[in-house]
Subunit: 335 residues, 2 copies
Amino acid sequence: MVTLKMLAKELNVSISTVSKALNNSEEIGEETVKRVKELAELYNYKPNKVALSLKNNKTKTIGVIIPNILNRFIAKVLFGIETEAAKHGYNIITCISNESLVKEKESLQLLASGSVDGFILSVAEETQINNEIEHFKQIIKQGLPIVMFDRVAHDVMCDKVIVDDFDAIYNATKSLIKEKRKNIAFISNINDLSVGKLRERGYNKAILEQGKQEPLVLKIKKKKDDHQKIIKNFFKENKTIDAIVAADSSSGIIALNTAINFGLKVPKDVSVIAFASKSDSNHTLPKLTTIRQHAKAMGISAAQMLITRMQNLPANPDVKTKIVKTSIVKNKSTL
Amino acid sequence: MVTLKMLAKELNVSISTVSKALNNSEEIGEETVKRVKELAELYNYKPNKVALSLKNNKTKTIGVIIPNILNRFIAKVLFGIETEAAKHGYNIITCISNESLVKEKESLQLLASGSVDGFILSVAEETQINNEIEHFKQIIKQGLPIVMFDRVAHDVMCDKVIVDDFDAIYNATKSLIKEKRKNIAFISNINDLSVGKLRERGYNKAILEQGKQEPLVLKIKKKKDDHQKIIKNFFKENKTIDAIVAADSSSGIIALNTAINFGLKVPKDVSVIAFASKSDSNHTLPKLTTIRQHAKAMGISAAQMLITRMQNLPANPDVKTKIVKTSIVKNKSTL
DNA sequence: TTGAAAGCGCTAACAT
DNA sequence: ATGTTAGCGCTTTCAA
């Protein structure tokens, strides 16, 4: 890497002259500025980021800790974060906790030693199960702001971006009730997560309000189980199901395909609605009616909130929670 | 952040004494070491990463530039990279080129100014179309190693990790020929990419070798088109299709569902085989027979290659290309 | 056994 | 208009 020192030597001026010239300081003579800039251009000089970070005590880097990059929703949020961060000149360092509390703690610690100016994260499953929050609090005490998205730790005082999970499923279920569905089932693959629980509650509320059926819930334990087989058996044991609300895209897609495989017509015999993305909806036939989470928008919001907070150093104690409303995109799997 | 200076002051010793004590230098007295370490522990002292980077002139950070985080294959490679990097104490800074040449160049430039010790990247579509490679060469000339994966620029001298695209599709097509399929179609959504072209060639070779049918190829222009509709029409216009080879997962999934929707039996009437992941194969019924790319393994390999190269500074001029063999996972969509 | 000083690359207050 | 110096946090050589 070419440094100020090298340029200074070649030009027979001092380092600070070069620095000032490149920063358009009024102090330096026109002629000198020109010479300096030309040489810098020639050598493609770029200020060393690390030196700047040390000097300014800020890195222009955001630490992002996510539980699972293979989750499409999370990947999309990450896309939003990166897009917005880049717009403001920030880079993102990504760590994947892999749903592990230990890895989450480590990553947080490591990045907190000077690598980043703040964090955006979604809480690992293990962390949610154990309800651990001390590591988050400690980081905040160190003066590094955190913005949590989707899976948040409610007891940590920090900015948050979440989805209206409860309302979304409540409304989706109600829309199926309006279709005169009499036996609406709820299928979930994410029942250990905070958001999974909220979604189940939304379903329960809608069903209980209606009062014409008992809640019918299928909870799938991740990984261990053969997702397809479980759902097939569920259909076999509950032949009168005429609608499905799915808390996650896999469950929705598999339920839809299973219904078709059983010779049922979708949506005539069975309606299906699921938390899922646009491309998921294109992967079924008929196209899946989906609850969209606007993942990219969430990422953008999270990044904006963090950047705002990082720029207003005097740690404003009021934290905000932004609820990004979902929307139902009606396709052909519902009436 | 707590610094050596602060510890030194509190202990009434010099900064260098503290530094040495914490680094287990033989020079420092046992008693002092103990005092220093205790205080460091108490204050949860962690050496400042930025200062270390500046001092050592290496950041222990890998720059990863990918065209699209929403591509499941790429996301999986990223997972592999992150896993392996973390194992070796490296962080990853992720930039998303969004298939844009300009963004790719910018990211490369920005990170090259001291933020990272090397790069892992997959070339943007626009870059491949324009066949631009100067920006890569320049980075390498600066002394920063690059490892490319999947979509590589063959004319750049650097380490690469690729898939045996040609052979994979060639073999897949042959396996359909062995099933006595007489009218095998090839569907691709990625025809502008280097890998897409290789896959098409593999298909063509197998078909031409057999000599019993003409190649039947459907190329879908990304984004603009309604993927489902195009494939439906393709089926309508080619009623005798009895097998599909898909260059990408979306095309495979949609083709399978379309066939079923037309009342065809899979795999009795139509076989389908596609480049896709395990979870994709679970999203169809019958389960999709897939060509697996071992994306995570590719990420791990790429990270290993880069780390090796970064540690052997005296830029070894021989570059390696690692070909990660795909494997066909037979499910229920083929005979 | 401990400390002082230099240097990584940069900026900025303070000379000249 | 230009240069000197100090300092960001750390390691390391050299001096005490």
